[in-house]
């Protein structure tokens, strides 16, 4: 089984993330799934180590859900890590994904929380965007994937 994102859906998602980025003057925004895959992202400039940030964020956020369960809560909807210069706000979306906002001390944390919640509501309206394969024609017959059976995916450094 796999999940896929069409070009059209990708544009719409990036539009939502871009609006949030400008609204709260964030440095970077990532939408990632439970497995730590980045579904979409937007940043002011090239952001290093995107994959590592998404993997760590997904791991730590979904670990907090276990903490919630153990103390008798159904979930923690969001988590804020506040630093001296930069902070990270994470909110869970209805599709069981994670919206992660990296912002500097120039941004207002209250505003970040408010607009991230609103962005999550917009993401809920796009339930069809990220669909399980086999849903409404997300992967078409015209798309075939091929690999050279003799090729090695990874080569050693010479």
């Amino acid at each position: 089984m796999f999940t896929s994102l069409t070009e059209e859906a990708s544009k719409k998602l990036e539009g939502i993330l871009f609006d949030l980025l400008t609204m709260v003057e964030a440095e970077a925004i990532f939408l990632c799934d439970r497995g730590g895959n980045i579904i979409a992202s937007k940043s002011v400039s090239t952001y290093p180590h995107e994959d590592n940030i998404a993997a760590l964020a997904a791991g730590s956020f979904f670990a907090t859900l276990e903490i919630a369960r153990l103390i008798g809560e159904s979930e923690f909807q969001n988590v804020l890590h506040q630093g001296e210069h930069r902070s990270v706000f994470m909110e869970r979306t209805s599709k069981d994904m994670l919206l992660l906002v990296v912002f500097s001390r120039d941004s207002n944390p209250g505003l970040v929380k408010l607009h991230t919640r609103l962005a999550c509501q917009k993401l809920e309206e796009f339930d069809i965007l990220v669909d399980q394969c086999g849903g409404q024609g997300v992967v078409s017959k015209s798309v075939t994937f091929e690999m050279d059976p003799q090729a090695r995916p990874f080569k050693s450094n010479p």
Binding site: L5, K11, I38, S140
Partner: protein
């Protein structure tokens, strides 16, 4: 669970190195990071205790262009082997596409191998997955140590399923068998992905495809 981004022409896969404590999972990933050309790898993230034992997970992003027209991203994870960290192992296994089970070849570790293997099956089952439906390989590590069990014995003990998993011998700290294991599991994961896409395409009604393609 693989993720395809048609906009970026990118497919993501998740591979998890599983096994008992101190079997060499982190050493495998460290060697991969050391061996692979820099343009194909990201930063290695390791979350360890003060005693250098894996606390949460190790993570290494890799890239490959083996699927025509698409970039393939492989997210390599290890789990913490210590028994107390089972919740973390379960978290790391979410959406997994392929598993390398690293077994310690020493006679004294056979029981721990078996326990970890049973733990893997249990954790997969709790997420509605089974080893029958998931590409996985068995890596018999630490073959250079004295008093190791013969590979055929380990194969007999751990590879009893109808669909037998490929096995490899390794000395991870000397990088022997490490890249072979990675390439093997990557090709198995890619193979299953391509096959499942073919099946989905065959089952898909034509009118839906036409509408989306337009």
């Amino acid at each position: 669970m693989s993720f395809i981004n048609f906009s970026k022409k990118e497919i993501s896969f998740k591979i998890v190195y599983y096994g008992p404590a101190l079997c060499g999972k982190t050493t495998n990933v460290e060697q991969i990071h050391r061996t692979i050309a820099s343009q194909d790898k990201g930063e290695l993230t390791m979350l360890s205790t003060q005693q250098d034992r894996t606390l949460f997970f190790d993570f290494l992003p890799l890239k490959s262009d083996i699927i025509k027209g698409f970039s393939s991203k492989f997210q390599i994870y290890t789990v913490p082997g210590q028994v107390i960290y089972n919740e973390t192992r379960r978290l790391v296994l979410r959406n997994v596409d392929g598993i390398v089970f690293v077994a310690d070849s020493q006679w004294s570790k056979m029981e721990e191998n078996a326990e970890s293997y049973a733990n893997l099956e249990d954790n997969l089952q709790k997420q509605g997955m089974t080893l029958e439906k998931l590409p996985y390989i068995l890596q018999f590590n630490k073959r250079d140590l004295p008093e190791v069990a013969p590979a055929h014995y380990m194969d007999f003990m751990m590879n009893q399923r109808t669909m037998r998993a490929p096995t490899l011998e390794a000395v991870a700290r000397e990088s022997q068998g490490v890249m072979e294991s990675l390439n093997l599991i990557a090709k198995m994961v890619l193979g299953q992905f391509i096959e499942s896409n073919k099946m989905q395409s065959r089952e898909m009604p034509t009118e839906v495809v036409t509408r989306k393609d337009g």
